[in-house]
Structures are given as structure tokens and as C-alpha cells.
């Protein structure tokens, strides 16, 4: 395969009506869709980062002694609760406000 020299990107010269890219779409809050939220028991959490690794939306954030999901992004899929080896996460139903 013939390779071309890579040119560095210059974002300022890219028109904003070509293809959508993620950097300008952070306003989309997928947390709106959630039916259940993950709740972390901080006493059980040993900060092993299993939830951080498995989260499909990569929304798990590191705190001082525990991990927890960013609820603006978390869709409530429950994978973190399912994978947590210490059963530190439970899914709780979102109640109508």
C-alpha cells in the first residue's frame, strides 16, 4: 500500500457543515434516556476500575476512593452493576419527577 505523509489537522479550516464529529456534540445528553441509574455503595467499592473498563459509553469517572457514572451520559444499561466483582453497584429505577 502506498502511504501518504500525514498532514496535521487544522480544525479552524474545517467548515462546520461537513460530517458531524464528536467534539461539537457534547450537548447531547444521553442520560435523558435512562430508565435505571447505577448507585455505588462506597463502602463496598474497592476502586478496582472494572466498571470503568466495561462502561460502553465510557462515562465512569474516578473519584477519591470510588468510581461512579456521570449521570448526564449514563444510559442505565446496567453492565457496570453486572460486572462489578464486589457487588457494589445496584440499579435503581428512575422515578418520574
Amino acid at each position: 500500500m502506498r502511504r501518504q505523509a500525514r498532514k496535521p489537522f487544522d480544525e479552524s479550516k474545517i467548515p462546520n457543515d461537513l460530517c458531524p464529529i464528536a467534539t461539537e456534540l457534547i450537548e447531547l445528553k444521553t442520560g435523558d434516556w435512562r430508565a435505571e441509574r447505577p448507585v455505588v455503595d462506597r463502602d463496598k467499592c474497592v476502586k478496582c476500575a472494572t466498571c470503568w473498563l466495561y462502561c460502553p459509553t465510557q462515562c465512569v469517572q474516578e473519584k477519591s476512593t470510588w468510581f461512579e457514572a456521570n449521570l448526564e451520559i449514563c444510559k442505565g444499561c446496567g453492565i457496570c452493576a453486572d460486572e462489578c466483582p464486589h457487588h457494589a453497584i445496584v440499579m435503581k429505577e428512575e422515578l418520574e419527577e
Binding site: M1, L18, P20, I21, T23
Partner: protein, 396 residues
């Protein structure tokens, strides 16, 4: 050299130096796929040839390759194109400058493996640039030009270079092979992923979910839709510029959007598309010998639709007959006839128009068929009305 349209297309690809090609064979495109494979095996095309299991994967692979900076090519038609439709629909709004031949084939069912333009005409509204070739040489030349159009900074859209199944795919003509260095100079540096990329050095999520009725709202979606429409309009200018430059450099001049043939003093005209135009021009010449003031308008570029160029051509005549090689099911006419009607609205004076449908299922559109179309359009000029389409091969 002497070759058919499928080999000419493969030579056009070779001269454009792609990095990744993926082609799944389907009649009447199959020999094009074989030429591409042979050229890769022989080192004439120095590209990665991706063997995948079907057309959906073909175009998906090219999406990734294009995002990684590769110049890409594929070809398909008919049912293969139908299977490709999901990534096909996504290609233009991702603004990926992929070039693809559609070796046009009639739509099944009824079962049919022969030429027709139903496949390409059906997908003309998806956002790809569509150009239809008349000759084998034009197939080769247009493939190369397509890369320059697709990768133009104001365009960044995929381009379909369409040639008629059977008539151009297997039709053999004399072809001049352009010099590689001259093609390199013409095309310049390739440019496929400056705007959106799979690039570890600049991580980004490509084409994520935009807002809709809920959430962030439709404004982003609308902005990108408008961007695609604007690029299409820009293409009208760029296609002309690229064809002019090709003519200057290589000495072969093609009408980029709409070709006018013997239209100067014509009272009426036949509109054609693709390889049928050769027989159409012969029929016009014959009619001229017997004193008929008839001309021919060939539409090369179907998307973007060349409204102004066609309007200019139509303003020279007082009646028009459109020969389509496909049907518009809901309009009971050919698709180009249907679109020509929209252009007629822009004329100062209303002129009669007749829809002819011919060449379905690989049928030849002969000079005799064109004679009939010319005679019928002459009758329309004299005031006779034709509200139904005329099926040229109905009794063949």
C-alpha cells in the same frame, strides 16, 4: 488500445492510483471486478484489494479506508447496489470522496441480468454525484475526473461514474490511455480525510448521533443537510472546471453537464442519457438529411441536476422527447422526463414534451427506435398530445 468499458474503467482506476479497492462481482460489472483483481495481482494497481463477503461490507470497508486517508474505488450494480444501500446512503453525508462505477442494470424482478438504468436512477436522490458516460473512452476519462471532483475541497462527496451494462460494459472501442505522469499532474495530491478521520493522533467520534425532536434539537442535523446540498450545487461549477481542464490537458472535450448536438437551428429535440446517445445522434443526422430540424440533448450529469444548462438547451426548441432507460413507477414515465418537466417550468414558454421508455432488460435502442421517437416528437410539435409514455421495445 482496444478494450471494453469495464476494462476502460479499470484502467481509469489504475491511473488514479487508489490505495484500497474492494469489489464484489455482479453481472454486468463482474469483468470490471476481475480486471481490478488482475491489475492488483500484476502490480498495475498498487492497492490493498479487500476480499469481503458482500456489497454491504465492500462499501463499509471503503468508509474506514477513506477515513484513514486512502483513495478508494468500488463498482456495483443492480441487486449488489441494493444490498449496498445502507452504507451507500451514509457515504455522502459523511462527505467521503469515494469513486464508484455503476455498470447499470435493470431492476429485478422480473428476473433480468441485462442492462438498463433502473438501478442507478433509483438511487439518484441519495447524495452521490451521478455522471453517465456515452463511450468507452469517456468511461476511462470520467473515472479519473471523478476523483478530482470528489476530492475537491468545496465538494467532498462520493461520485458514481455510470456506464450502461452490456452496451458499454462489453462494448469494445478504441481507447487512448493517458500518460501516468500527466494524470498524476492532473489529479494532484489526494485529499480524503482532512475533515473527518480515523486518526489516533486526533481522536474523534465520527458521525455520532445528532439531536432530533428531543434532546439537542434538529439544528445540527439541518446544518449538515444544508452543507450536503450546498456541496452538490458547488459541484455544478467544479464538474465544468474539471472537464475543461481535462480537455486542455488531454485534448478530449466532453460536455460536463448537458451536451447539445445540432441544436443551433433545431425546432425540436430528443433527450438522451448514456450509451444510447450514439444511436440517437445517428438518427438525428439521418432525419436532418431528410430536412427535419431536429437536435439532441444528452444529459451527462444527473446529480447535481443541471437545471440551468438544460434550461438553456431547452430554450432553443419548441418540442422535446425524452428517451429514458428506466421508469418512474409513480409518475408513469421515465425519470429523466419527470425531472425535465420541472426544468420546463422555468422556460418563458410552455413546450410539449413526450416520454419514451426504451432499452429495458438489455434491449438495444436502435436508430429505428429513435426514428420513431423523432417522428412522434415532431407530431407533438404540430400539436398532437401524448399523455402516456411510449414504450419503444413493447413489440420487439
Amino acid at each position: 488500445m482496444v478494450c471494453d468499458g469495464n476494462e476502460a474503467a479499470a484502467w481509469g482506476v489504475a491511473l488514479s492510483r487508489p490505495d484500497v479497492v474492494a469489489v464484489y462481482p455482479i453481472t454486468p460489472q463482474s469483468s470490471l471486478a476481475e480486471y481490478i483483481s488482475q491489475f492488483v495481482a500484476d502490480g498495475i494497481i498498487q492497492a490493498d484489494l479487500m476480499d469481503v463477503e458482500g456489497e454491504h461490507s465492500v462499501l463499509s470497508v471503503l468508509h474506514g479506508a477513506c477515513l484513514a486517508g486512502a483513495r478508494t474505488f468500488t463498482a456495483s450494480c443492480g441487486q449488489g447496489l441494493a444490498f449496498m444501500f445502507e452504507p451507500y446512503f451514509r457515504t455522502p453525508p459523511m462527505r467521503l470522496p469515494i469513486v464508484m462505477s455503476i455498470v447499470t442494470r435493470d431492476g429485478i424482478t422480473p428476473q433480468c441480468v441485462w442492462g438498463g438504468q433502473q438501478d442507478a436512477m433509483t438511487v439518484r436522490e441519495v447524495g452521490w454525484v451521478h455522471m453517465y458516460c456515452e463511450t468507452v473512452q469517456e468511461v476511462l476519462d470520467t473515472i479519473v475526473m471523478a476523483y478530482k471532483i470528489a476530492e475537491h475541497r468545496d465538494i467532498m462527496l462520493p461520485v458514481n461514474v455510470n456506464h450502461d451494462g452490456n452496451y458499454l460494459s462489453y462494448g469494445v472501442e478504441k481507447v487512448t490511455l493517458p500518460d501516468q505522469q500527466e494524470v498524476d499532474d492532473f489529479l494532484g495530491e489526494k485529499s480524503t480525510n482532512w475533515h473527518v478521520a480515523l486518526d489516533p493522533e486526533r481522536p474523534m467520534s465520527v458521525d455520532p448521533l445528532t439531536g432530533g425532536a428531543e434532546g439537542a434539537g434538529p439544528a445540527l442535523f439541518v446544518r449538515y443537510r444544508k452543507g450536503s446540498c450546498k456541496a452538490m450545487q458547488n459541484a455544478l461549477t467544479v464538474i465544468q472546471e474539471v472537464h475543461e481542464e481535462w480537455g486542455r490537458r488531454f485534448g478530449r472535450h466532453y460536455a460536463p453537464l448537458v451536451e447539445e448536438y445540432r441544436l443551433e437551428d433545431a425546432k425540436y429535440a430528443i433527450v438522451t442519457i448514456g450509451s444510447m446517445s450514439g444511436a440517437g445522434k445517428d438518427a438525428v443526422d439521418l432525419a436532418r438529411e431528410s430536412g427535419e430540424k431536429v437536435g439532441l440533448i444528452r444529459i451527462k450529469t444527473v446529480r447535481p441536476f443541471p437545471v440551468q444548462a438544460l434550461r438553456q438547451a431547452l430554450s432553443k426548441v419548441k418540442a422535446v422527447g425524452v428517451v429514458d432507460r428506466a421508469v418512474s413507477f409513480g409518475w408513469n414515465c421515465g425519470p429523466m422526463y419527470q425531472e425535465l418537466l420541472s426544468t420546463l417550468y422555468l422556460l418563458d414558454e410552455r413546450i410539449p414534451a413526450v416520454s419514451f421508455i426504451g432499452g429495458l432488460a438489455g434491449a438495444d435502442i436502435t436508430i429505428e427506435h429513435f426514428n420513431r421517437a423523432i417522428e412522434t416528437t415532431a407530431r407533438a410539435l404540430r400539436g398532437e398530445e401524448f399523455s402516456e409514455p411510449i414504450w419503444l421495445n413493447e413489440n420487439d
